[in-house]
Symmetry: C2
Subunit: 325 residues, 2 copies
């Protein structure tokens, strides 16, 4: 009797508040928003033929260019360069060695010219050779002080308000939200819980080799310079399989690096929703797609158009871009 009363009151409270609030206020009332809401309704309403049990409501989100900005280059690269400059005092040999020389001189073109091999060296030297705790602290300090070269904003303020609302909306509807990023897992975990509401155990990303060691009688996890896993392109479904072990029913990305994740999601047995964020807003953010050196969106855009995946037109679909502060 008491339990029934509680149930009744809870239902009243929930339906009242649901009727009052738009869960996606930063999304304009366009077809994009309506398609998201219609999908969520169709998989959560118990009478729906597309109903999906809560434990299977897995949603995966790319990070760079999907949850936060990625121009002029991936923020992780900016962190790596700042960190190399910080560590350069202990490495006088870097003055004559690429890509370190270019990093120290602030020559982005030189850094890019060092190619994939150069970038791997940079990642190894800036992310490896420290304990996991030391690395987290370095990232955390960087976020506290570094500012974006064009907007002057803290990097964690360059996350997209509409996507924050989308994450919260999905969670309120029983979804478990994951990040599945080509970026480094240990870097994203430093801010994902505070900023996105996504706990470390729901972050999938690229990683370095790691070892367990005793130092002065205390165990530590040491990040090694070698790459363990690249969670990008065909690596994304593999990373999803490895970490989540269940196919998403909702996946969001913005580039060809997300193409296979969206394919994998769309090929599931039940209902699915694939979203691509298309950067079309050079006023409030940046406009780029097929020819961009970061966040190149080409083949995935073609497939989205062919298969009717939802493409966010940032300029028209979003009422605001960066997160409210």
């Amino acid at each position: 009797m008491i339990r029934s009363l509680i149930t009744l009151l809870s239902v009243l409270l929930v339906s009242t508040s649901a009727g009052q609030q738009d869960p996606l206020p930063s999304w304009n009332d366009t077809e994009t928003k309506r398609s998201i809401v219609a999908f969520v309704d169709s998989v959560t309403r118990s009478s729906s033929p597309n109903y999906v049990k809560p434990e299977k409501r897995i949603a995966t989100f790319d990070n760079d260019g999907c949850l936060w900005a990625e121009k002029p280059v991936y923020f992780q690269l900016l962190f790596a360069m700042d960190r190399i400059r910080e560590l350069a005092q202990e490495h006088p040999e870097w003055e004559d060695e690429e890509p370190f020389k270019s990093v120290i001189e602030g020559d982005m073109q030189g850094v890019m010219a060092s190619g994939e091999e150069g970038l791997l060296k940079l990642v190894g030297a800036s992310h490896g050779g420290v304990t996991a705790d030391e690395f987290s602290e370095a990232v955390s300090n960087w976020f506290d002080t570094a500012r974006h070269p064009e907007t002057g904003l803290a990097y964690t303020d360059m996350v997209y308000q509409p996507m924050l609302e989308l994450l919260a909306y999905l969670r309120a509807n029983g979804f478990k939200t994951f990040i599945v990023s080509g970026g480094g897992i240990d870097m994203i975990r430093v801010f994902s819980e505070d900023v996105y509401g996504i706990p470390p155990e729901q972050v999938v990303g690229s990683s370095l080799e790691a070892t367990y060691e005793m130092r002065d009688g205390e165990p530590v996890i040491v990040k090694q310079p070698g790459i363990d896993f690249i969670d990008d392109k065909a690596g994304k479904p593999v990373g999803i399989h490895r970490h989540i072990g269940r196919r998403p029913i909702f996946a969001a990305g913005n580039s060809d690096g997300d193409h296979q994740m969206l394919q994998w999601t769309a090929a599931g047995d039940g209902p699915s929703f694939c979203l691509l964020v298309h950067h079309t807003d050079e006023q409030r953010e940046w406009a780029y797609d097929r020819d961009s050196h970061v966040g190149k969106l080409d083949k995935a855009l073609d497939e989205a158009n062919e298969r009717g995946w939802t493409v966010v037109d940032m300029r028209n679909d979003w009422a605001s871009v960066f997160r409210d502060r």
Copy 2:
């Protein structure tokens, strides 16, 4: 006002039901049980100096010998051998090749004599070369039909009732429960949700290499024969770091394979609880420790005694062993 009423009624209901039910009925009223309850109380009571926020209540459990039995050998090896025999028709060359020859002839000693290299061949041939979906189906079929050679029980009925209660008790107290096993992640995921209440995304284990491929226009994850990661011994803290990204405050194991996981847990900044299941019951299960070829418990037992970790004496601490049916 309505909200306050609900809160009040909820508190009444919860405290009433808590007073009525023992959450660990298969645990005898010994020091072991009392130490578990005291720890959980100390980290969940908001007025406690050891209070831990819910998002940091990470609990990790070994599987073989901790959540289910592991004698006469790891159940995964029994699956592998059954599967090799099933696949042998397509591999006439196995008749003259170890360890396959011994497997086909049912010669366990011969299998063991093939050493680590032989076991890796066995794992590669029995677990690799199929899609992840095909593998899950093979495991699922095996669980439906295979029976333990000594007890005649289904393998999923050889899980420990007291540990099921412990998992549920921790979850009811805001813990997130994970499996961290040396066994194969894709095998455990087939039954972990149904049997342990642990979803696939909370299973950490050893894995094979995997690739993403298109077959007849459909994307698949293919399990390759090569080993990707061994989640055992020093690999366990690494696997925890990689998958969970947060240090456990509660860890349970039963062998030296869990030693580093327990060390890592105990070395955290805040309160922690380390549990070792000691197999002391040759009547209801098996009795073994320092000299066993599976589940060898030697160094971890010494450290448990030195550091006051809780050691379950299966014979005296558990009122029942295998799960209620």
